[in-house]
Structures are given as C-alpha cells and as structure tokens.
C-alpha cells in the first residue's frame, strides 16, 4: 500500500513537471467535480490535468502507459452518456485550455481548430466571414469541438448537412503509445488508405486523444424559412416526412414535437403560440431566397395532402425565432411539468429508420403509460433521432427503479425497430450494454482494433463495451 502511494506520488510529480503546478490537481474538491458529466453515472479520477498542447498530452499518455493508469479525455463535460466519466479512476485530461482557432482558410473551405474550441464560438467567428460549421448540436454554447468529434455528434440540421464525421478532413491524434500522428487529408477528397479519420470520430477517446482538427465549412445560406405543420395523428406526421423526401426535397431540418412536448412548452412559456395537437412538425429550409420560397410551397402542399390540420409559415424573423425557441426549450420545459422532478439523461438518444419514427413515438408513449410516467418526446424526425425525456424525482429511490426499466424498454424497442440506442450522443457507459446487440460480430472487430492500438487498455477504459 505504501509502495503504491509512493508510486502515485512519483507519477503526480512527473505529471506536474509536464503541465505545470497550475494545471494539475488531486484536491478532493476537484476530483469530485470531475466525477460527473450530464449522465447519471459517476466515477472519481485520481488526478486532473489541463494540458495546453499535443506534446504535453503525449507525455501524459506515455506516463499513463508506464504507470498503467487510465486516461480519460474531457471537453466541457457536457456529454450525456458518461463518456468523460472516469469509471476506472485515473487521469482526467481536460482539454478546454486548447481552445484556439488556428486557421480559417476560406479559399479552401476549411478551418483548423484545437479540441477545446466551443462550438458556438467557432460559428460566431466563422459568421464574420459569412461561413459556418453546419453541425449544430443543442449543446452548442458549451460543447467543445473535441467532444463533438469524439462522440460523433450532430444536431437539428443533420437531414441536409449530415453529421460531424462528414466534416472532419484531418485529425491530429495522440495515440495510446504517446505518438502524435496526423491522419486524413487537406484535399477536399481522398481515396488514399484506410479512413482513419472516420475511425477516430466517435471513438470516445478509447483510441487516443484528438489534439487538432481540420474541418470543412460552408457558406451561410442566404435565406431560411420555417414551416410549422400540425397533425391530429402521429402516423400522418410520420408520413408527411416521408412524403417530403419523396417529393425530392431535403429540408435542412425536420423536428417533431408530440403532444407531451407541446404541452410542456406551453406550460413552460404560455406566450409561445403553437397549437395543441398530436404532433407538430417543424420544417426548416434554407438556400437562395427563390429556392426557399419554392421549397416552402412544396412542403405546404405535401403537408396538406398528408392530412395536416394547420400549416403556418414563419416569414418574420420574430416568428421564426419564436418557433425555433419552442423547439429549443422542450428539453428545459420537461422539468416544468413537475417542479419536484428533473430530467435524467437515459434512453435519450434513440434513432430509428425514418419510416419507423411514428411507431417509435407510439411505443415510447405506451411504455410511459405502462410505468405511469409522462414521457415528453421530441427530436430530429428527419434523421430518425428522438429524444425522450425521462423526468423523475431523483430523491425518490423507487423512481430510479422505474427509470432503469423504462430506459431498457425504450432502447430495446429502438433496436427492434431497426435502429440504434444513440444517434448523436455516444455510447459511453450508458449504452455499453447494448453494443453486442447492436453490432454483433462487428463488436469483436472494434475490440481487435482497440487491443492493437491500446494494448494496455489505458485509454478511457470501461466505455463502449470494448
């Protein structure tokens, strides 16, 4: 035990020499704070470091290998799956000091950033040039680009613009050996070699630490419009989405609020003017003013034919903002339904084929009724991604039992409907137990890759069922 303590002391001193006294801590208060992310999982690290560059990270990882201690990378800690929670203890490597935008290369439509850049800050900077990084997570104001990359994040506009992995051109990564490697290409496309970039996007820090990223950017659309369509039947809303695609249209986003979500929003902010129906669809289209106008008309026609009971086009900026804010506030509004309860992020990211979204919504409602929980559901129907909000009194143990059962049933249903337990938040601890069911033999391939790159299993162990 004494030997163990002196070895740990030695490691601490070596790490301190790497990052400097100001950027390392093992104070109990710090360790307790870095034990959490947004998920209900908890795990206390032994040391937290805040490095400022790839060389420091390389040294940290080498030391971790030498001392066989886990390394857990962390951005803003805004993940919902426990990805940054150090379940096996070890060193948390917080990357928020690495928050520089290194290069904005407009002529090549790309930008180079450090992993700690906050998503919203990147887009605020790019907007000055008339450009944007189209991936738009709801956590934009806090999530870091490194976290977005490592969790394979996306957001509301993924229907047209895709997900993070579609925008990562090149990555600098510190491998578990401590070696710093660059993968990918500056060229707009490349058919050369294994697509390692795509392997590292969504690897959740299990294969290395991303220290630099070259991302594709796009010009900001000149015009945007929003169509709100109300349906008295969930199935009809689902069909309207399918019919929209069939009409040859790809809106930038299609969001759904079911009755529970509409009620929650109305209770949270009674001034929001939206109809109380079974389902509301929010279509966002963008592009040239003329193109947007045409697309709005097409969506209106499609929705009318699909049985919409009310259609409202947001032309003014005020109405546009109000409708988007209605969607944005659903998550927060879920707590308004009962002031004693808060949302627990479990089963919050299920994703199914688009045509199965109505069935998934009904299934969630059915599960809620079975357990007596009013589950508010909303999400990116255009990409099949739903965010059911499980809301409980966290001080009541029996509610936790119920929550775990509901979570299991919702996620199992998603898999049965041909979907996945996570569309954009990642696996972490929360969904590790579904990996085998979702991937079968392919999980063994992942494990083989993991073993090859990280033979000592120091990189974020205990995640993704690796």
């Amino acid at each position: 035990m004494q030997k163990e303590a002196s070895v740990r002391e030695e490691l601490f001193e070596k790490l301190k020499a790497v990052v400097g006294e100001e950027n390392i801590s093992r104070d109990e208060a710090v360790l307790r704070v870095y034990s959490y992310d947004v998920s209900p999982y908890k795990g206390q690290p032994e040391i937290v470091v805040r490095p400022s560059n790839a060389s420091e990270i390389s040294e940290i990882v080498k030391l971790a290998n030498e001392y066989r201690i886990p390394v857990v990378p962390r951005g803003a800690g805004s993940g919902a799956a426990g990805g940054a929670v150090p379940v096996s203890g070890g060193i948390v490597v917080e990357l928020t000091r690495m928050n520089r935008i290194l290069e904005i290369d407009i002529k090549n439509l790309q930008v180079v950033v450090e992993p700690g850049v906050v998503h919203a800050n990147l887009n605020r900077e790019l907007a000055k040039y008339g450009f944007f990084f189209p991936v738009d997570p709801g956590s934009s104001e806090m999530a870091t680009i490194g976290g977005l990359i490592s969790n394979g994040g996306s957001g509301m506009r993924s229907v047209k613009y895709g997900v993070t992995r579609d925008y990562v051109m090149e990555l600098e990564v510190v491998l578990p050996s401590g070696k710093i490697v660059t993968m990918g290409s500056k060229a707009p496309k490349s058919a050369s070699g294994y697509d390692l970039v795509r392997l590292f996007v969504g690897a959740e820090g299990t294969l290395g630490i991303v220290t630099k990223a070259r991302l594709k950017i796009l010009p900001l659309p000149k015009s945007r419009a929003l169509v709100l369509s109300a349906f008295d039947d969930l199935e009809k809303a689902g069909k309207a989405v399918v019919n929209t695609f069939s009409a040859g249209l790809v809106p930038s986003g299609i969001e759904i609020l079911d009755r529970t979500a509409i009620e929650a929003v109305k209770k949270y902010n009674p001034e929001i003017d939206i109809p109380l129906v079974e389902a509301l669809l929010l279509f966002e289209v963008d592009g040239t003013p003329r193109g947007v106008k045409e697309e709005v008309e097409t969506i209106k026609e499609v929705c009318e034919k699909s049985g919409a009971v009310k259609i409202d086009v947001a032309t003014s900026k005020e109405r546009f903002d109000q409708l988007w804010s209605a969607r944005a506030m659903v998550g927060a509004a879920t707590t308004a339904l009962n002031p004693d309860c808060v949302r627990v992020y479990e089963a919050e990211d299920v994703t199914v084929p688009i045509s199965n979204v109505p069935r998934m919504l009904l299934k969630i409602r059915e599960i809620g009724e079975k357990y007596g929980m009013n589950i508010v559901t909303f999400g990116h129907i255009g990409s099949g991604n739903l965010h059911p909000a499980l809301v409980i009194n966290v001080l009541d143990e029996s509610e936790w039992d119920k929550l775990w059962k509901i979570s299991e049933e919702i996620q199992t249903s998603a898999i049965e409907l041909g979907g996945t337990t996570t569309g954009e938040h990642g696996v972490g601890i929360a969904r590790a137990k579904y990996m085998e069911r979702e991937h079968g033999e392919a999980l063994e391939v992942m494990r083989t890759i993991k073993r090859a790159l990280d033979p000592n299993n120091i990189m974020n162990p205990g995640k993704m069922a690796l």
Binding site: D27, A29, V30, R32, R50, A76, M142, T335
Partner: protein, 367 residues
Amino acid sequence: MNDKIIEACVPEVVKCVHCGKCRAVCPTLDVLGWDNYGSRGRMILAGEIIRNGFDPDETGLNSIFTCTTCKHCTTVCPTKAKVPEVMEMTRSILVGRKKHPDIHRVLYERVEKLGNPYDEHKDRLWWIPDFREPEEAEVMFFVGCTPTYRTVEIAKSVVKILDGLEIPWTFVRDQKCCSSPLIRTGWGSITTDHNIEKIIETAEATGADTVITSCAGCYKTIIQDYPIEDLDIRIMHITQYLAEKLEKGEIELPQKPGLRVTFHDPCHLGRHAGEYDAPRKVIESMGVDLVEMEHNRQSSWCCGAGGGVRIAFPELTEKIATKRVNEARAVDAELILSACPFCVYNLRVNSQDIPVRDIVEFIAELM
C-alpha cells in the same frame, strides 16, 4: 439550523443536471478555468457537501466562496437552478461548521459592533454634519455603507439631486448596514429588524412613503431578503425613482450631448431585481450617446466584486473587473456609468483610462 437549510437546499441542488450551459457565462470560471470554479462545479460541490458528507478541503471552500452570486448562470440555466441561493445556503452550512474565509467573520463582527463592514467608527452622517431631520419629507434616503464610507461623492450626489429637484427628503434614521455582505457570505442578517423598524419610524415621523437607495446591493437585499410584504412603503432604487419622475414629466435632468457613455448593469439591480430599463431611461434623458457593451442587460458581465469575493479574493476580482473595463474600451466608451457604489468603486480602481461614475455622480456633476 443546518438541518433546515439542508432541507431547503437539496431540492435546488438536484435541479442542476450538470449540462454545463453556465460554463459560458460564469465570470470566475472564465478567469480560473477549473470546473470547480464555475457554477456547475459549485452545484456539484454543494451536493457533495450537503448530500454526500463531503468535508471540503481548501480548494472546495475556495470554490464555494469565489461565487460572486452574479446570477448569470441562472439566466441561461435550462432548469433555472438558483445557484446564488444555493451558494448562500451552502455557505451558511459551512459557516455553521466554522469553515469560511476569516475575513468574512471579521465583516460580521464589524457589522455587529459598528453597524458597518468597513471598520468605520465615524458617525454615518459625518459627511453632512449640518443635517437636521425635516418635519415633512417625501422620500427617505437609505445611503448604504459604501457611499457613506468609501464613495461619499455618491451619497453627496444623491442629496444634491434631491435638493436640486426640490424633492423633500430625509435619511432613514439611524441606519445600519443592510446585511447584504453577511447574507451573501452565509452569515445571515443581523440588521433586518432594526432597519425595518427605523424605516417605519422615519415614515411615521416625516410622512415619507418611499425609501430610495443608490446602492443596488441594499436595494436587492431590502426588497428580497427583508420581510416587507406588509410594509406600506415603496422601496426604490434611485434610478427607478428618477425614471418615474421623468416619465411623468415632473423633472428634467442636465444634458451632456455627444458624450459616448456605456452602462454597466449591476447584478443586484439587473439580474436579481429585474431592473434594466430605469437606469437607461435616466441616462438617455441626458442627451448622451449610450452604447451597449458586448454583455449587457440580462447577460451583463459581473464586475467581480459581489458575494464577498472582493474582500476575500481581490486578485480574482481584479481580473474579472479588467475584462469588464475592456468591454467598455471595445465600444470606445468615454465614460462608464453604473448604478451601484460597489460596482463603481471596483471598476474605478481597475480602470486606468476610462473614467467610471455612478449615474447620480454624473447627474450631480452637471447640475
């Protein structure tokens, strides 16, 4: 006592779902970087202390006691978690365990002994020795400790304005510290009953029906921490009082056309009391060119002084204040105005090139 606080605190603590949205707006996290120095980290620590038996180490105490209670986090919080209130409650619990910055105990003892936190033995009316309470008054001036002992120009300015506008006024008799510095740091109020009693006594003696104060901290404390629901007396910040008079066309303020000024919203007047318009109405009525800083109104950036931070962690306060002054510089302001003697005092000592004035000083200088 602690059990009752814990009972009240737990439901607020669990409202924080650790989403981290507050990371972008916490002035102390912005300077110190470590998550434990931001609102989310503090809420986690409050939970650990209250629910999981954590006996905080020095870093834990510093994390809890560096919160300026600026409330910026609550305004962006999806669940509207009441972070300043949780910090005050957690601090109370820690004070009960004798774990707190020593200087906060000193403040308590000074208020208890002298009625002010500044260790001043002078009479509160030292700066206006000829004052005699009038037989009749319309308003009662609650001066506050900072204008009385540190920024006396602010106190004098209020008097000059009231006299200049021919508003019959008097002082709240025998006033003591409002207890804001004690409540924010977890020591609770020891002057509430006294001050309420004196407000009533002065009102009965002079007929005044309105208390005015130029201090955002006193204002917030009296309207939110004092049990004044049944008090038939209006409590107003002086900018609210002046804005109301301007709206009614009862007064006119001196003009300074062409001057480029910016306004720093004091947290206690803005986010805590919800008053953003009154000071702006007053400023705009003076013909100046009012420019907003990047962070304004609900998203105003704290000056770094509140919550007992300035006295316990002066270097931190200095860095936060410097950022705020830089925002004023970025919009080429020639003058920074505020409506709180504590903010004014703090920004002034941290601004090398741009002058900082309280709105009342600005008005009085032109009268």
